[in-house]
């Protein structure tokens, strides 16, 4: 009954095999496709264990309103679990509360919703991301100099959180001067265009604080095409960036939003449905890529799409450990 | 002479477009109880003058007076308040609205701020009855034939109970019956003391209806006088400034026995199971009441609408063309009736309009020769008396001149069969004469002409044979000897049916 259920939203009345709903916000981008790949792999494993019988996938085509409607349909079809990347950090809150009240396990990862009416949220710490990236960069340029900040789209919580996370470090180093900031989609081309213009307008720069996605590759290409010296730059685990890093011998640091968050979310949903205790927030430690381990990542590059992300390895042990942490 | 102040008058008005003077010091006065004719060649400035009178355009100089008082800034709204209604040719209608909504357009009766549909229905019905429109009032205007739309337009003007009624070529798309209704109506309105300004290129109408005439030539007033004591020839003299020749050319039949087009059991649109032979060297008229399927006959032969036939031969090739490009390749050319919608590219230069059939036939990527195009264009313009810069957009031409362009563009291709849909609609007499001469010359050269016309005299005097169409069939095929306005009209009405069939 509901009283002795362990995790949020779980009433203990759902029996395996479970049907899992994957409410994808937009299935076309490569990162999403890779993430879906890890979910499908995990579901296969769970199927073999007799825990899951079906994975239902919806694609909101980038529209948060459609995602809400699709989650509603999942509720209507009495699905057992919903895993989702939110199209808006606020919009799905009410529909999720509905789902929660119906005893559906909800695991929200990557882009989170501001609500506690979910079974668990799974994510890296965006503020920490910004903080660590800023630390590396400031250190790499010797505590002073002129930098550019590249960030994801405006109006999105993730990009805003990462940027805010960098604030403390930047304030602590008044000698680090931010020449310009831009917001673009997390893609190569717009970053390359923006950085090219910024470089012409600000000929002297010492470092680039790039906060995710494929922005860093764009910046490196921009510097390269102008025949400029590369500067210290932060980034994410995009394969193109890691390859450029090696090729140009960059002074870099990268972290990642591991694609296996998806697999982990599916795993966690099943755990919660089975009555296991699941923390309301599972914080995924940020894996760090630096010169010490970049070769390990690049060695596996051929297993990943050319425009994809080389994520850190994972297995069930890791998932168990993550769930066990308090 | 007259002591009454004119209801509406222009005093020495001038108007120029982009520096080209169109009207120079023109005056006109509309008196109650009088039908006033406004005549002039195509492009003389008639439409422009009524646009000034009705406030659609503002004069560069001179004044517009209502009841003898000058109105400094005439607008369509003011004009309507002053009881002035204008019948534009098919200009002000909205296809998706119903007949009633179109008739009431711009002056809906209101109740609590909403349109009072019952009142609208009543008043629209009254207006419709005046012009003999009996279609349900809820019919969308888009479903009506051209002539019926014109009647809606007239009903729209009458709906406002005007004191001054201005009609710009109202009969050019009307059938004989509709024209008759309109003539009777105007006569009655005149009797009620309404002032009427009537523009037409059909001089017999003008002679029958009007009491006073103003003639424009090149933007100036060349005559302003009572009509009494003038004949049609006199009117033409006033318009063109010299003695008119005969309107219709003298011609000898040159019909051969070879046929240009033969169809058996031909069906397209409204036309059903028609057998027809079009011979080389003849002008074959197509007559009948408006909307009996005549247009579908031409369009079907031309491949512009789907058509079926048991057998067909077109210029020696068997089978229908089945598409406009193919029809063109077989030597067919079509000149549509509605020049603005179907005939011309109004926003494009006159020259481009003239060259379009050539562009459609030349190899797609062959380089154009601007020089050759210019020469062709100039010679066509000279041939058809189209004046002025050929780089102007076609919409800057007056209606009649637009019609000439729609015709001219086929001339360089020397088509073997000309399919003409009311080619002289809105064309002034002088141009008509030229067009008639051209058509006969064309036939004499061994080509075939199919002339669909709503102008019965044209059919009588110009055609070797006339096919009268009724309810989708050829009700009668009248040979030249049997041609007269009476035979055509009675065949069209179905009266002479037995006689002809026998």
């Amino acid at each position: 009954s509901a009283a002795n259920a362990a995790a949020n939203c779980i009433k203990g009345d759902r029996k395996p095999p479970y049907t899992i709903g994957w409410a994808d916000i937009y299935s076309v981008p490569t990162w999403m496709k890779q993430t879906q790949g890890t979910i499908e792999a995990e579901v296969e494993t769970l199927k073999k264990q007799g825990l899951v019988d079906k994975l239902v996938v919806t694609d909101a085509q980038g529209d948060a309103n459609v995602q809400i409607q699709q989650i509603q349909s999942m509720i209507d079809s009495n699905i057992d679990a919903i895993i989702l990347i939110a199209g808006s950090s606020t919009a799905p809150a009410r529909v999720l509360a509905d789902a929660c009240s119906k005893g559906i396990a909800i695991i929200n990862f990557d882009s989170l919703v501001d609500t506690d009416k979910v079974t668990a949220k799974v994510n890296t710490d965006s503020a920490q991301w910004g903080d660590q990236a800023a630390k590396f960069l400031i250190n790499a340029i010797g505590g002073k100099g002129k930098i550019l900040i590249l960030n994801g789209p405006a109006g999105i919580s993730v990009s805003d959180d990462r940027r805010k996370g960098a604030d403390a470090e930047l304030k602590a180093h008044p000698d680090v001067k931010v020449l310009a900031e831009t917001n673009t989609p997390y893609n190569v081309a717009p970053a390359q265009e923006a950085v090219t213009s910024l470089l012409f307008a600000n000929p002297e720069i010492d470092g680039i604080l790039s906060l995710g996605g494929a922005l860093s590759a764009g910046a490196v290409l921009a510097l390269d095409k102008q025949g400029r010296e590369q500067v210290p730059i932060t980034g994410e685990n995009a394969r193109q960036f890691l390859e450029l890093w090696k090729e140009k011998g960059l002074k870099s640091w990268a972290t990642m939003q591991p694609n296996w968050l998806g697999a982990f979310a599916a795993y966690t949903a099943v755990q919660a449905l089975q009555g296991k205790d699941v923390p309301a927030f599972v914080k995924i430690p940020l894996p760090v890529i630096d010169n010490s381990n970049i070769d390990e990542y690049l060695a596996r590059a051929k297993d990943f799409p050319a425009d994809g992300y080389i994520y850190s390895p994972y297995d069930e042990e890791l998932f168990k450990k993550l769930l066990a942490q308090k | 002479m007259t002591t009454v102040a004119p209801l509406l008058a222009a005093r020495g008005v001038s108007k120029a477009f982009f520096g080209n003077p169109v009207l120079r010091g023109v005056s006109i006065a509309l008196q109650p109880g009088r039908v006033h004719a406004l005549l002039g060649e195509n492009g003389a400035g008639k439409s422009t003058l009524i646009n000034l009178l009705s406030g659609a355009l503002r004069p560069d100089g001179g004044e517009i007076e209502v009841d003898g008082r000058a109105v400094p800034r005439m607008t369509p709204v003011l004009a309507r308040q002053a009881g002035i209604a204008v019948v534009q040719q098919e200009l002000s209608l909205t296809a998706s609205l119903s007949i009633a909504e179109n008739i009431g357009l711009g002056a809906y009766p209101k109740r609590f701020g909403l349109i009072d549909y019952n009142e609208l229905a009543a008043r629209a019905k009254a207006a419709c009855e005046l012009v003999g429109l009996n279609e349900p009032l809820s019919t969308p205007v888009g479903h009506l034939a051209l002539g019926r739309r014109q009647m809606v337009e007239i009903a729209n003007a009458l709906y406002r109970k005007p004191r001054v009624l201005i009609l710009d070529e109202p009969t050019s798309s009307l059938s004989a019956t509709e024209t008759k209704i309109l003539m009777d109506l105007l006569e009655r309105l005149r009797g009620e003391g309404i002032a009427i300004l009537y523009i037409s290129h059909r001089l017999n109408e003008v002679m029958a209806l009007c009491q006073h005439v103003t003639v424009l030539k090149d933007g100036t007033c060349t005559a302003d006088r009572p009509l009494a004591g003038t004949d049609a020839a006199g009117l033409v003299r006033l318009m063109v400034g010299r003695d008119p020749g005969d309107l219709f050319p003298k011609w000898q039949p040159a019909v051969s026995t070879t046929t240009a087009i033969t169809v058996r059991k031909f069906s397209a649109g409204l036309m059903r199971d028609v057998d027809l032979d079009i011979r080389t060297g003849e002008v074959l008229g197509i007559g009948g009441l408006v909307g009996q399927g005549q247009e579908d006959l031409l369009l079907g032969l031309y491949g512009a609408i789907p058509a079926r036939t048991a057998s067909a031969t077109v210029n020696g090739v068997s089978g229908l063309p089945g598409g406009v490009p193919k029809a063109n390749a077989l030597g067919l050319a079509y000149v549509p009736a509605d020049r603005k919608r179907e005939g011309l590219h109004l926003i494009h230069p006159i020259l481009t309009n003239m060259m379009l059939p050539a562009f459609a036939r030349l190899p797609a990527l062959k380089l154009r020769s601007r020089k050759a195009e210019g020469e062709t264009g100039r010679s066509l313009a000279a041939q058809l008396a189209i004046k002025g810069d050929l780089q102007r957009p076609a919409q800057a031409l007056s209606g009649g001149n637009q019609q000439k362009v729609a015709l001219a563009k086929w001339m360089p291709h020397d088509p073997l069969v000309l399919l003409l849909n009311d080619p002289t609609r809105g064309v002034d007499v002088e141009t008509k004469r030229e067009v008639y001469l051209m058509l006969r010359a064309f036939a004499a050269a061994g080509k075939a002409v199919v002339l669909l016309s709503s102008d019965t005299p044209e059919l009588v005097h110009l055609c070797d044979r006339v096919a009268v169409v009724r309810e989708g069939r050829v009700a009668a095929m009248l040979e030249r000897a049997a041609l007269s306005e009476e035979t055509i009209v009675s065949a069209a009405m179905g009266a002479g049916k037995q006689k002809v069939a026998a």
């Binding site: 239902v56 996938v57 085509q61 980038g62 529209d63 948060a64 309103n65 459609v66 809400i68 409607q69 699709q70 509603q72 349909s73 999942m74 209507d76 808006s88 950090s89 606020t90 919009a91 799905p92 009410r94 501001d114 789209p153 405006a154 109006g155 999105i156 919580s157 | 009705s54 659609a56 369509p76 309507r80 204008v86 534009q88 200009l91 002000s92 209608l93 909205t94 296809a95 998706s96 119903s98 009633a100 909504e101 357009l105 711009g106 002056a107 809906y108 909403l114 349109i115 549909y117 019952n118 009142e119 609208l120 229905a121 009543a122 019905k125 349900p136 009032l137 809820s138 019919t139 969308p140």
Partner: protein
Amino acid sequence: MSIVPSAKPAGALYWPVQAHRNIGVRALFLVVLAFLVAYGVLFPGLFTASGFAKFTQSWFPLALVAMAQAILMLTGGISLAIGATVSLGAVIAATTMAGPLGVAGGTAAVALTGLGIGAATGFIVVKLRLPAIVVTLAGSFIIGGAALLILPRPGGVIPAWLSDLLAGDTPAAFMLLVVIVVLWKLYLATPLGLSLYAAGENPVGAYRSGVPVDAARVAAYAISGLLSTGAGLFVAAQTGSGDPVIGTAFTLNSIAAAVLGGIGFLGGQGTMRGALAGSLLLSLMISVMFFLGFTPVAQYVAQGLIIIGAVAIPQIRKVQK
């Protein structure tokens, strides 16, 4: 008056006129009906109060933006700023309603913003004679920027009772839609409202007949703005908060819904009932495809096919006739 048939039964003209307007959208109505039936069969819960409520709630904002787009297209205009305007409406609602302005003040602020933006756009397009598509493209950046200024990241709050009222288990959204449709019918029965058609299809002729062409067009833009921010308010209520980029997808969806509903681009062609049916089809499609278990790839392909089919089949039938 005389004995002229003024004593005809009420609506003797109005209803036949309406009936003629149904002709163009009959095929679409059938398609929508088929989808509704399919949805009902696949998800019987649709016929419960809460099922119906949720279903109409997901349709409602799309219905509003479809109307917002349709009214412009009827006048020969178009807007690429609908999505941004929805977002702006949402953030204004989410930042005002919990504050001193309260729900009434917040609603007024949303409505005034919509009317103001619409009227300004209309003025620029109509009076300055600039192409609507680029004016509203530029407008979408300006309006979207304003939304970002008000709420740089998702946040704000809508009073819970309002959210429960509009987007709870009540058919409030449906009632609201009915009210809006009635208001629209009333507007279309005013001289200014009906002028939309004439102003869209034949502005020169309409002007010469004394139709207030410019006023009708500017009013259409203003109403369109109001409907868009209204949709934003509803989305904010539905989600309980504001998001400065929530409306983005509505721009293209509103165009798709309107065109699906038979609204032409040249102005004066189409009916609002068609646009509403178009938006309903778009919304139904999402749920029906879910219950049929379509994969994302199949969803994309089916969506494309349904949209083309719904437009092409009536066209082809028309040609065949």
